[in-house]
Subunit: 159 residues, 2 copies
């Protein structure tokens, strides 16, 4: 963590020193933006945890870039950045399993987000499980302890 990055993330708690002049305000200079409080990693991403707003189960961990977070805030539907496909991704765009966002939280040092969501269809994971965290550690091995609710082929089609 660099000093400048830390100073920047803390700027969210109190407005930065030095008020903008009227001309600066008109030009958008000195206007503080919530996206600047996020401590984006070297790839421009932040970790985003989706938690079911009703059951409080942790559903998914995904990644957001600036665009994904801004669209999530504007549309109140979860958007992420797909690292494997290298593009913005509206959750549910293929599956219909949209996440309606009730609340967006940021952590103390600005490098993690929690979304409280209503999970459409009750399935958050591409495997057809309710959520991605369906494996538990016991006796030195991971065990599947939650069922597949829907065959992924039925969710996404065979192709």
């Amino acid at each position: 963590m660099t000093t400048s990055a830390k100073g920047r993330s803390r700027a969210g708690v109190a407005p930065p020193e030095g008020a903008a002049t009227p001309n600066e305000r008109e030009a958008g200079v000195g206007v503080h933006h919530y996206l600047d409080d996020v401590r984006w990693n070297a790839d421009g991403l932040v970790a985003a945890i989706a938690q079911d707003a009703t059951s409080l189960k942790v559903l998914t961990l995904a990644w957001m870039n600036r665009d994904a977070l801004e669209r999530t805030d504007q549309t109140r539907e979860a958007h992420y950045f797909s690292r494997s496909r290298n593009k913005l991704w509206r959750k549910g765009e293929s599956s219909g399993h949209v996440q309606h966002v009730r609340e967006v939280r940021l952590d103390c040092d600005g490098d993690a987000i929690v979304l409280l969501v209503e999970q459409v269809g009750g399935i958050a994971c591409h495997t057809g499980h309710e959520r991605c965290f369906f494996r538990t550690l016991a006796d030195g091995a991971w065990h599947d302890v939650e069922p597949v609710l829907k065959d992924p082929k039925a969710i996404y089609g065979d192709g």
Copy 2:
């Protein structure tokens, strides 16, 4: 995500092909280890979400290396890898705010972990908040919506 990394993470669901010979088994060759099912990132780390086992609040997002996950499993106390201090870190070693681990979950593609924990002292965040996610997004700004339960100076001392 490379094909080989994906194949490796999936090896956790079914044992790898090719059984070990008796001599290999004796030498530990071919013995499948749960740590090999985790898809460690380029820095050898995996994201680890701590969730309160009772309230189900998401407390922290931290990072683990192999050693941290193994010690967490063995001791049932959360261990992480501190990226800023570049070393293994037993949660609570300075503050006393240990996390007793009830359950360890791994996600579908092996690159995120959820710990269900009992949070000693009821404070998970170094800022003295119950948890790190005390800021919520509203009207284009982050707002502190949870109180500081204990002054960090009282937790860690002035030094």
